[in-house]
Every structure is written in C-alpha cells, then in structure tokens.
Amino acid sequence: MGREVLKVENLKMWYKTKMGYVRAVDGISFSLKEGESLGIVGESGCGKTSVSMTILRLLPENAEFKEGHIFFDDGNGPIDLVSLPEDEMRKYRWKGISMIFQAAMNSLNPVYRVGDQIVEAMLNHFPEMSIDEAREKVAWLFQLVGLDPKRMDQYPHQYSGGMKQRAIIAMALSCDPKLIIADEPTTALDVIVQDRILKEMKKIQQKLNMAMIYISHDIAVIAEVSDKIAVMYAGKFVEFADSVTIFKKPKHPYTYGLMHAFPSVVGPKTELTTIPGEPPNLLNPPKGCRFAPRCPLATDECWEKEPEYREIEPGHWIACHHPLEAGKEVKFDEK
C-alpha cells in the first residue's frame, strides 16, 4: 500500500476545568495509509471526537495540548502539525485534512445557495481559481456524491436531510483533501438514507484513494466502512486491528462486551451482553487499567498497574493484562 498519510504519536490533550484536568485524549498512537479507512468506535465521552478535534486543532479555549506528534504527509514529506503556527495550520485544514461534522447538515447557511457556499470555500483556498472553474468543479463533485448538479442553485431548505449530508460531503471533498475525518456522519439519518450515504462515501474514498477516519458509537456502521478499527475507552485506545480481527477475534474484554451488546437482525437471536457500571470519570480516572472496575477478568494487577498498549500479533494492538484467547467467552456480572 501507499505512503503513510497520518501518523499520530502518543497524543495527549486534556481539558482544564475548575475541578482539575479531564483527560479526554490520553496517549493515543496510530497511523493511516493512503486509501485506508480507520473506524474509531467508543461510547459518548470516551474522547473519540476530541481526537479528531486535536488533529485539526479545532479546540475550545479550555483545551490544553499536552504532548505528542501528529505527522501529516500530503505528498511533500511528513510535517508535524503540532509544530506549526496557527496561520500555517490553516493551510492544511480543509485542503489537507477536511472534516464532516456530526449533524453537519445543520451547518449549511440557510440564506446562501448551496453551490455558492462550496464555491466560496474553494476560492478561499485556491485564490487563483476563477469562479467558473470552481462552479465546474462543484458540479463534478455533486455528481460524485449523487446529487443533481442543477441543485447547486437551490437553498438548503429545498434539500432533504440526506441531500444536505451529501452536499456537506461534496464540500469536504472540494479542496482535494488527502484525509477526511467523518464524525458520526449518518447518525441523524434514517436507515435507508444512511445506507446510501455510507456506500457513497466508501466508493468515493476508494475512487480518490483518500485516507478516511470514521468516528461512531455504532459498531455496525463502523463494520460497514472501515478496514481497520480502533476501540476507544476512557481517553485511550484499548484495541486496534483490522476490522475482521476485531469482530471475529477480539482480545480485549471491552471489545468483546461491545460486540455482544449489539442486537442484530440477521442470524439466530443471541443473548445480549450488558457491561455493568459506567465509564469512569476522566477527571480522576482509575489508577490501573481504566476498564478494571467493569471488567470480569480484572485482577489486583489490573487495579494497580496500567496495561501497556502493545502489538501482540502483527497489526493487532491491545492494552490489557489478560488478553482473551480465541473462542473464549466472557461472562459479565449483570445486575
């Protein structure tokens, strides 16, 4: 496969609050190649959105970047985004890395024509481009995402939810990014529309050979679109592997629990797993393994010592003192 587009090393970003630091992103490392898609799955509050915001440096005022490196390569050699001043960083945003936000369809400006909004974004990044060129490209993008180019001159209220989401995807693609981060891109949509958008995105990603990061709480959605999956829990990656391995041979008890907590419409009706308790407060995370309080396999070691995030098989990373053996069941204590 191609070159590494993104390489994140030991990323730490904490939020400062009156009560102390919330460790939203607490030591995350991964890399992503051209044409690859990575799914980050986790529950709300686990820090998955904060990871993407840190990469793009779109952080609120109380966020404090602690340490780590974000190497981004748009074809001119890797650059550490962390070392760039804000006005340099701005050049990479949208042009190098673009993002599809959660509920992005509400981010279209209601009083401008949809096409004009995309043209405006493009002219900002390519000042030498003429309006006609830009419009031509938008028409092409509309076709790419499955919208009628005639709709360029319509206003957002004339679009349905799914169409708005397509327009947002067209906008994200408008400056030829090398990497797109999609944060819950289909959460607000109905299943049939969701299905179409996901397939469209996957097709475009492969056609343009882009790298893609999907962020979602829905394992089923992640399974559809990602080559690799990272499972995030309480500010850390607990497991990382290709998607088939994650689904067929999960090694972390949390991953196992998540997989078995999802009802499915196909196959036999199986018993669903409940993971007892709730995710820890990141103001004051447990000393040892952050999943220990909810883990049925936790030993004294787990409570005391934080497990190291290590590669146990080629391409399969895990942070757990007691990785599961293949085919073994985990019994969660249900209350």
């Binding site: 529950e43 709300s44 349905s160 799914g162 109905d190 299943v191 049939i192 529309v193 969701q194 299905d195 996901l198 709480h217 829905d218 394992i219 089923a220 959605v221 399974a223 559809e224 990602s226 998607s243 088939v244 689904f247 067929k248 629990g257 998540l258 997989m259 907590a261 999802f262 009802p263 499915s264 419409v265 196909v266 009706k269 669903l272 797993t273 409940t274 993971i275 007892p276 709730e278 995710p279 249900e334 209350k335």
Partner: protein, 387 residues
Amino acid sequence: MKNDEIVLRIENLKKLFPAERKMFGKVKLFVHAVDGVSYEIRKGESLALVGESGCGKTTTGKILVGLYEPTSGRVIIEGEDVTPYLFENQKRAEQYLKEQYLNKFKDPSNIDDDFDREMYELYEKLGKSDAKFMDHFLKNRKRKMIEIRRKVQMIFQDPYESLNPRMTIFDIVAEPLNIHDIGTAKEREEKVAALLEEVGLTPAETFMFRFPHELSGGQRQRVAIARALILNPSFVVADEPTSMLDVSIRTGIMKLMMRLAQEHGMSYLYITHDLAVARYMANKIVVMYLGKIVEMGEIEEVLHHPLHPYTKALLAAIPVPDPEYNRGEPEIKGSVAKPINPPPRCRFYDRCPIATKECENLPHPNLVEVSKDHWVACHVVVGNVKK
C-alpha cells in the same frame, strides 16, 4: 369473554394535522400522519412499531396516552371503549358516540362487530335510551380520563428532557401516586423505594433525594421507567427509550424492561426505528410507511420472511455488525415525502421497485393475512395484480 385477553385494540385510527394556516376559510391541506391504522396487543404480548421518521409511529403512541386527540377511529383498552375520554372537548365525545354507536343502533341488523354487539347489549340494558347511553360514558368523564391515563403510561426518548430538573428522584417517581391520590405518605415512600430497587437503582435511599442532574443517562432512564410503572399500567408506550443511550448501557435497559414486563404482566408498545432492537423487545411487529401499516405479524416471521418491498428495503439497509456479512442492495427509489393530501393509490407506489401499471390506478391495498398471523398490504404480493 374473548375481549378480556386483548389489552389494546386500535381500529381505523386516523390523525390529520393541518398543513397550512388560514385566517379565513377552511384548511384544505392535511398531513395524514396516521391514516387508518388497526392492530391489537394481546395479554403478555409486546408490539414493536417500526418505520422511518415521519411514518406516524410516535403520533400513534401520543394518541394513546392522550397527548393528541384522534381525528377518527376507535381505541379499546382492556375491553373498554376509551375513545370518548381521549377528547378534551365533551362535544367531540358526544359526536363520537353518536357516530360510532347510536346511529348504528337504530337498525340493529347493521351490527357486524363483536364489540359493537356488546355495546348494543349495554344499550338494551339501559332501556334503549340514547340519553342514558351517552350518560353512561360521559358521567364523571374527567375522572375517567384520569383513570385511562393510569392504565397507559409512557417512557420518552430523551431522559435528559423528560425529568423535571427541579424535582428529586423521589418526587418524580411519586408524582403519579399524588395525582391519582393513591396510598398514604408512608406507603408511597415504601412503594417508591421498592420500585427504585427493582429498576436497579440500589440502594434506593442513596438515589431518592438526588436530582436528575446527578444521575447518568442510563440511571435517568431507569427513573423514567420507575415513574411509568408505579401505577401498574396495563401497557406502556415506550418511544425509542434506548436510542439516546450508549451501547454498553442500552442492553441493561432493554433487559430490565423485558424483565419488568414479565414480572408485572405488562405489555409494551415499543416505538423504534431500529429493527434489531425491536426484535429483542417485542414478539409482534407493525411496519408503518407514511401513516399506513404495510406489514405486520409475528416478529421472527416478518424479519426472516419479509414480504412487503418496503420491509425488505428496510431490512437490507440496516448495517450488520459483521464486516464479512454482505447484505445486498436495498431496492427502493427516491426518498420519503410528506403525506399531505396523498393520492388514493398505494402510499409506497412512488418508491416501489415492484409496482405495476395497475398499482397506479388501484386504491391503497388492504392488509391481507397471507399466512397465519402475517399480514401484508401490497397488490403485487397478495396477487391482486400480475407481476
């Protein structure tokens, strides 16, 4: 009596919302949110109402708990016609009784329905007097309206919005008891404590005097469940109660709801867009599309042998948590339109992959029982028209 086994029966329920505002003249455009829906829930059964947003599933639920008035139709709960109590206005209730019963009773040979026959017996017992019959329903109407609300409770989607932030957990759960004036202060406290333990908020004393903001989403939803159950309702309308919760919390709530249904002998009308969740929460399913039922029946049967093209498309569109599973392409065209004064033909016609020329001119198909307890509304599937 056969009717005793039926917890809820809805007949030809309709709800139209005006789609335009007019200062003068009659409103002519209506959104047909629920358009002639009939189904029943038997004792010990739970029914899942599924469909995309805008199909009328929530509207149906809201009519049952009295948040919307029906435009027409009949609602029977535990063998009692409660429709007169769903109207705020007494005139509407009188009009309903006249149209539903009294006009028919003038000529008893018209009666073709078991329930109507029962009502006719009551009418005879009251000396065939229209006034007495009316009075039977309308006397103490206010009290009966409250009584109905005791039998039907609702759990809402968003536990962050459905609990009053200024009340303690105890006050929230005990409020229905206060309203219906049940028990002494001490009994109420005991009942609330017992129920909180039952929904997994243990020990109850540590939760009772906290406020909603001190609880997590899952715990709040447990409080909402306790509040719904405290009056021992016959059935609970649950409107997407788990869709706002995290995965690891969600199964806990689903299992809790299933256990409580069994222990309390209670039924759910489970409203959801998620067929996979529906499969775990109900044994019957009703699939709605733009205010109409397109398919219904025993849930495993419908999910494994879907007949209606819409059900098939829905099933094919659901992501499966298995990267190696290939679920194929959902066959459906276009997108959902608003049912504003829809043409009389099949509601699904514009999006249907198997529609024929004849479908365009035929009225919307009726539900037909194609195999035991499996109903479908499609001209092509039931063979009204040739493929």
